[in-house]
């Protein structure tokens, strides 16, 4: 059983009103931004289930936009995130989707585009108590919580990739707590997600990019 801290009971410190609809939404967008890895210029949030029904009253929209701008769940600027986003020149849109129903009730797709036109779409689920799960990046089903330092790699699906990646991590003394592999199809784009107990230094990125088959390295922590 994982340790339950007194600050899990008296906490989280959060902007209200709801740990799932406000704090959790903020965390999903915060992680999505890290996965984009650059400054978002345009964003569309597609809301499903209970998110689609109650997002205004729960401030889910403000929390999502705040998270996208890097605000934490206890950041009082969340309330003013519409104005702040406008000042930063970020175009945003919220689209409730009530047609898709076979989905976790608190689900959101974060569709981002940066200044150079790079697009990334991330799907997240808010599980309650501020805990979340990222379940999709692009068209690929994945699963990570953001509770650990994570390294997300996009690379070609070919022999030796994992050996190369783990060798680099070994050289940087990074202990792998969890590791998951996903791919779009055989021989094409693949994703490796590595979660670690320790913070991951940016210098790891440079070494990983030396491999011609690694197209993107994202550090989410």
């Amino acid at each position: 059983m994982p340790f339950i801290s007194v600050f899990d009971v008296l906490g989280p410190n959060m902007i209200g009103p709801s740990s799932s609809h406000t704090a959790g939404a903020c965390v999903i967008a915060f992680l999505a931004r890290k996965m984009l890895g650059s400054k978002p210029k345009k964003v569309e949030f597609v809301l499903y289930g209970s998110f689609a029904k109650t997002y205004k009253g729960h401030g889910t929209d403000r929390a999502l936009l705040g998270g996208l701008m890097g605000f934490g769940t206890d950041d009082v600027r969340i309330r003013d995130s519409f104005d702040i986003a406008k000042k930063k020149g970020i175009e945003y849109k919220f689209t409730p989707n009530s047609e898709v129903t076979d989905i976790h009730p608190n689900t959101v797709d974060v569709c981002m585009e940066d200044e150079k036109g790079k697009r990334v779409t991330v799907r997240g689920e808010s599980l309650g108590g501020g805990k979340v799960r990222i379940v999709k990046i692009g068209e690929v089903d994945i699963d990570f919580s953001g509770e650990y330092s994570a390294l997300i790699l996009v690379h070609k699906d070919r022999p030796g990739m994992i050996a190369y990646i783990t060798k680099i991590l070994c050289e940087h003394s990074i202990n792998i707590a969890f590791m998951k592999l996903y791919r779009e199809s055989k021989g094409n784009k693949a994703y490796t997600i590595i979660e670690s107990d320790e913070p991951i230094q940016n210098t790891v990125k440079d070494d990983l990019y030396k491999n011609e088959y690694i197209s993107q390295v994202m550090i989410v922590q």
Partner: protein
């Protein structure tokens, strides 16, 4: 130092001559990753946020995002300022603070979930009111928060604090039990009395359903935070008067959990039953139409 139920907590208190808060602090230090100084510093921050959220709306009323609440804390404060209140000073201040925290929460202010956002007014409501009336130091109130935390931890570990799983009795019931245990320790009661008070609260709030109008954390949540303070106060006075409970806390927690699991889904935070479907509530909400 760790404990998995209230019986073991009580044994630890008795064999080491410690209060519940001392055991809970030691547990956090032994089992967690923070230093003793960091633990106290974090709890000091918890108290600071609690105090801001409990006092700001009293002077500066805030309209909720869903529009169902706002201004209740100021009304209660004005009323007791005019000395019209029937309940005593602790109850009057306690319910004022409790509704204030919910006002703050519902208008996207900063709060501490205790144990949840929807029930975040009860613990600060009662403890801050007692501090005002009896002039307790912050250190004493911080200790009481650790004692409250012990009850919440046991509820999270052995039952649930989620309205979607166990109804409002799991959220407000546990919050109120936490407040009662902290209040007993603050008044110099024994660990056994704290646990008896917590048991009494769960008994008195058993079966309470979670039925938020429009699915929002506003109404009846705010009213229930006030009633959570009152229930905690009743249980605290009973325990300190020397009344012991037939059903110990561990059994009462299990009872609450079993009742929660038997609740129909309509009465567990889905807004499909209870107050949420009363005609006036449906008219005010307008989400379905």
């Amino acid at each position: 130092m760790d404990f998995s139920n209230a019986k073991k907590l009580l044994e630890l208190c008795d064999s080491n001559g410690m209060s519940i808060s001392e055991v809970m602090k030691q547990r956090e230090y032994d089992e967690g990753t923070s230093s003793k100084e960091e633990i106290i510093k974090k709890m000091r921050r918890v108290l600071e946020i609690m105090r801001n959220s409990a006092t700001t709306p009293v002077n500066t009323p805030m309209k909720s995002m869903g529009g169902l609440i706002g201004g209740e804390a100021k009304k209660l404060n004005d009323y007791s300022q005019e000395k019209k209140n029937i309940g005593g000073a602790v109850l009057s201040k306690g319910i004022t603070y409790a509704v204030a925290v919910l006002e703050c929460n519902a208008s996207m202010g900063l709060i501490v979930a205790a144990p949840t956002a929807g029930s975040s007014g009860v613990v600060p409501g009662l403890l801050l009111a007692m501090q005002d009336v009896y002039s307790f130091s912050d250190e004493k109130v911080i200790d009481a928060l650790f004692a409250s935390g012990a009850i919440g931890y046991l509820a999270m570990r052995n039952a649930t604090v989620a309205g979607a799983v166990g109804g409002c009795q799991a959220e407000m019931g546990v919050a109120s039990a936490m407040a009662a245990a902290g209040a007993v320790e603050l008044m110099g009661g024994t660990p056994a009395q704290s646990l008896d008070a917590a048991s009494t609260v769960l008994m008195n709030m058993l079966g309470l359903v979670c039925d938020p109008v429009g699915g929002l954390v506003e109404y009846p949540c705010q009213n229930r935070n006030a009633s959570g303070v009152a229930n905690a106060l009743v249980a605290t006075d009973m325990a300190l008067a020397g009344i012991t409970q037939l059903i110990p806390f561990d059994e009462m927690l299990e009872t609450m959990y079993l009742v929660g699991k038997r609740m129909p889904v309509e009465l567990r935070e889905t807004a499909l039953g209870g107050c949420a479907v009363a005609p006036s509530a449906c008219n005010a909400c307008g989400i379905c139409g």
